[in-house]
């Protein structure tokens, strides 16, 4: 993985050739090698250790979440193009025969499936908010969570850093505007220091989410104007367009209002999250330090393998 691999296609090919990722026939859906998984495990431990002094409550979510929760969160207003909903066959024997007939004819048999109550989780924190709101008022000092989940976003691509199913680790702070902003500030510093300790080039920049359509352009401008999203970028498949590996998001009181997350005095809570794109960080490490993790620079191995 030398300087020539600075494009998506050749990096992906080189990951396949080196047995780091395995093809599935679908862009953005890959098998991972043991070495790749070990790097992710090590990085997760590093993240957990860095956040340990803050005593977050850890919750691990499955890759599917309540569809009703996704709907109420407003996800379909902003990212209808990325969402995925699980469908299943719920018919009887007659419909089953019809389905097999359609499959044999090469027809679209999927229309005989119906939407289940499950949607694929688009970001690790979506299932959190209603769970917390159901527990009653948020204490004055706020709440802190450490989350992880496999996430889905429908954006097939040859860019190995844009997978359709990937893991995200997150810290989420729910509290006053001041509490969540200072949480975000502290992670902007800690996140950068962590990536620099892994000898990876990075920069932090103002960013926006990929909101849908022309209305989305306006949402993106609003998000930038208000400085709500920052990303830590590392060159993975391009030097000109580095990859967002960490993101730092201030939601204002959007989720507080949506889910009725309040303090005892009735004030709505604000929230912020820092997300770690685990596959992206692992890809950045393989891209910059080589396909054999045993041969990575001693300083990098010390950071990852001493935790």
């Amino acid at each position: 993985m030398d300087a020539k691999t600075f494009d998506s296609k050749s990096l992906l090919d080189s990951l396949f050739e080196n047995g780091i990722l395995f093809e599935s026939g679908i862009d953005g859906l890959y098998g991972r090698s043991g070495a790749f998984e070990e790097v992710i495990e090590r990085f997760e431990r590093l993240v957990t250790r860095l956040g340990a002094p803050d005593k977050a409550t850890r919750i691990h979510f499955p890759p599917g979440m309540s569809r009703a929760t996704l709907e109420k969160s407003g996800y379909m207003k902003s990212f209808p193009q990325l969402a995925g909903c699980v469908h299943s066959f719920m018919g009887g024997e007659r419909e089953h025969a019809q389905l097999l007939g359609m499959m044999a004819d090469g027809g679209d048999w999927t229309e005989l499936q119906k939407a289940t109550d499950i949607a694929l989780t688009p970001a690790a924190c979506y299932p959190l908010y209603p769970t917390i709101a159901a527990r009653g008022p948020v204490p004055a000092q706020g709440l802190l969570f450490e989350l992880s989940s496999y996430c889905f976003r429908h954006e097939p691509s040859k860019d190995p850093a844009r997978m359709q199913l990937f893991r995200m680790r997150e810290f989420v702070k729910i509290g006053t505007a001041e509490q969540v902003r200072s949480f975000r500030e502290s992670w902007l510093k800690r996140g950068r220091a962590m990536i620099e300790s892994l000898d990876l080039p990075c920069e932090v920049d103002l960013a926006n989410d990929p909101f849908f359509g022309r209305g989305g352009k306006m949402m993106a401008n609003n998000q930038r104007d208000q400085g709500l999203k920052f990303e830590l970028l590392i060159p993975v498949t391009s030097i000109e367009k580095p990859t967002a590996c960490l993101s730092f998001n201030y939601h204002q009181d959007h989720f507080g209002q949506t889910w009725g997350l309040k303090f005892a005095d009735g004030e709505f809570c604000h929230s912020a999250c820092v997300g770690f794109g685990l596959e992206r960080v692992a890809l950045a490490l393989f891209r910059h330090h080589g396909p054999d993790a045993d041969a990575w620079p001693a300083a990098v191995r010390d950071v990852l393998w001493s935790v």
């Binding site: 407003g74 207003k77 902003s78 209305g215 306006m218 949402m219 401008n221 609003n222 104007d225 208000q226």
Partner: protein
């Protein structure tokens, strides 16, 4: 034009703001306008006046008050005329 815009927005089911009680230069975001509602507002204005806001105008500032909306709409309708 401001009155036409005010009555259009007042009737919009997805923008829950009391436009009748808002001064021309009142800040709509301070009055509770969400990002999503501002997108609904943009789409409703485009349909009503048969205009298309260029990307450079799709900003928070353009939709911050009835006066600045009227300003933007009149620029675009003038161009079209």
């Amino acid at each position: 034009m401001i009155d036409q815009i005010r009555s259009l927005l007042e009737q919009h089911p997805m923008i829950p703001l009391n436009f009748g009680a808002l001064a021309d230069d009142a800040n709509l975001y301070d009055a509770g306008l969400t990002s999503f509602a501002s997108v609904q507002m943009m789409l409703a204005l485009e349909e009503e006046f048969d205009i298309e806001f260029p990307e450079t105008m799709l900003t928070r500032r353009t939709f911050s008050s009835l006066a600045s909306i009227a300003d933007a709409v009149s620029q675009l309708t003038r161009k079209a005329a």
